[in-house]
Subunit: 196 residues, 2 copies
DNA sequence: TCCTAACCGTAATTGAAAATACGCTATTTA
DNA sequence: TAAATAGCGTATTTTCAATTACGGTTAGGA
């Protein structure tokens, strides 16, 4: 199979896997179901990804790429406040969306912790440098560890325990207004702290 | 079986289940393993708890009782700050401990969301009133919704995304010093916000 | 005391999904 | 073009844990 075709095929398989994952949840998905829905064979899935674990690693990779792309679209327009006002809802929306939640559930079920690490590496560890960079632009007087701590504080205020509550099924999918509201509150409190 | 004996027997079974859960993790536990370790029979487990789900509900109930008891020991000594300084580490230590994390993993794997609701009802929903009460004592001028919001803010700052990171295996078990440090930071930021 | 129901220990059943195998077709490559 | 390899669709094997069944034993009430 030519590399470019293989590329598209993999993208399609991963896409189908996400569809099933969102529709049936983590316990409702099986390798066979993915294979059938993608009109691929079980054998191919195993040849390409090794095992179920490998398939999920591929899903994470795709998710990471998506997050990076969306955040890249957030351009520096006004000051720090305006920038974070854009940044927050985009990030929060993705972190609480069906895909990220499904992946977090998978990571919770993964005894090895590999999936969790992959998720973190692709999530927080990719976003934080971007955030530190933004903060650094407007707070040149701060040291690196201080910027780091500021970024952590922002994450805490923005995400809080919403993700764990989504993962455990306590919290339903938030709509745009709720995402916006949560982001605003987080930003308010964040600014209040760093300006005091 | 006499009620008091039955009571002790159930407590012992739940205790054994927790042991296995902490040692082997959520995917390593099975009804049969619990039965054998507790020197009980499979049949009895099913008669008493209905199914695996029911057993976990019982585990949650036990966990809740424990949390309540520990928090009840936190007495009002000094002002709000001193009180929260005691309250925080105790609560955080339990929420990030092996048992709570294992239960949250179970809830993540539970498609019905029942376990998650039970956890929330026994966790946050039990602790929040206590917290609102404490806050109300020192901020009599606040309305109920305001106290409510303050409690939520405190939760956010205290727990943040530590629980989801523990559940996904990104974060190891924290030691006393780390718990203490996190609680202190949360308290600092909390006071900074409500006093601004 | 005697009888019934609960309990123990273990075996058997069931069900589901991961992982593998295989015959067939298509595609690559020598 | 012809052999070899990859991929498809389906069937099969494996594995593992939930759940049920059962003979033997014990406790508790009539």
């Amino acid at each position: 199979m030519k590399p470019e075709i293989r590329e598209k095929r993999e993208a399609q398989i991963v896409g189908v896997a996400y569809e099933i994952l969102e529709r049936k949840g983590f316990d409702g998905i099986s390798m066979l179901a993915v294979a059938k829905a993608a009109k691929a064979s079980n054998e191919t899935l195993y040849r390409w990804y090794g095992d179920k674990h490998g398939l999920f690693i591929a899903l994470v990779a795709r998710n990471v790429a998506e997050v990076e792309q969306h955040l890249a679209n957030v351009k520096a327009k006004g000051g720090l406040e305006a920038l974070l006002a854009e940044f927050g809802p985009v990030l929060l929306g993705m972190l609480l969306g069906p895909r990220a939640i499904a992946l977090n559930r998978a990571a919770a079920a993964d005894g090895t912790g590999e999936l969790g690490k992959a998720l973190a590496t692709g999530g927080r560890d990719v976003v934080r440098p971007r955030l530190v960079e933004i903060l650094g632009t407007y707070h040149a007087e701060k040291t690196m560890p201080e910027l780091f701590a500021m970024a952590e504080l922002y994450f805490t205020l923005l995400i809080g325990d919403l993700q764990i509550r989504r993962v455990t099924g306590v919290l339903p999918l938030l709509n745009k207004e709720e995402i916006q509201s949560q982001s605003n509150t987080a930003l308010e409190n964040f600014l209040r702290i760093i300006r005091s």
